[in-house]
């Protein structure tokens, strides 16, 4: 079987069949780990609980932001009322 050294020494050869046959003998399909293939299949076909948690986390953030907005608005209203009662 020809190897890489052979090819470096015969690089000027007009035909490329030798390189092709070297590539053919060197490159071959690799099999993925069957455990990986099975695990990935299960993950693809089983709905992930992560999305539920993500959804719940989003809801908590939404509630917090809403509470902060309500508190902020109340504070502004309170301050403005106090200022009005002083000036009045």
């Amino acid at each position: 079987m020809m190897n890489l050294v052979f090819w470096a020494r015969n690089a000027s050869e007009p035909h490329l069949e030798g390189l092709e046959s070297w590539l053919t003998s060197s490159l071959s399909p690799v099999e993925p780990d069957p455990a990986f293939v099975g695990r990935l299949r299960d993950r693809l076909l089983t709905p992930s609980p992560v999305s539920v948690e993500q959804c719940r986390r989003d809801r908590i953030i939404f509630v917090r932001v809403a509470l902060m907005l309500v508190a902020g608005a109340s504070l502004v209203w309170l301050i403005s009322r106090m200022l009005r009662s002083r000036s009045g």
């Binding site: 890489l4 090819w7 470096a8 060197s26 071959s28 690799v30 076909l45």
Partner: protein
Amino acid sequence: MTDLTDEVAVRRAAEGDQEAFAVLYERYVTRIYNYIYYRTGSAHDAEDLTARVFFRAMSNMKNYRDRGAPFSAWLYRIAHNLVANWYRDNSRRKEVALEDYLQLPERSAHPETALVRDQEMERLLHLIRKQPSERQHLLILKFVERLSNAEIAVIMGRSEGAIKSLYHRTLNSLRDSLEKSGGEPL
């Protein structure tokens, strides 16, 4: 179910049929894994990126439009984009360790011969990965998947003549790279 044609399986998967998507997954997971493995040189990254390819494919199945190209071409395009991102994110990544290739088949039992072959394989893969991505894709389809020029043309969305031309340029470029590398043992 496994005897479904790609066309039917894709249509059913796009309608939300998970079993149809499973058929497509089983049919193409090894090919996509091989493509990514030879592009990245790492079994670990090949697993990670293969998983991302199929998750992305599954989430975009509803948007898939059959434009005459085979379903595999769509998967390869997703894989190509993810590998490009991987290279961008790992631009200062070290060369892949020799041990990563030890699972390649057809090794000699003799330790010295095996070592020389491993070194030559490492050099070859290093030179292949220096080629532009479309040439790498072509070499993988040609020598790993053993596809004909006509089949490669369909997947890569080019004419058979363009593939022949690209193939010839790729071999010449690879030969030049080998010549420059000098054939000295690593």
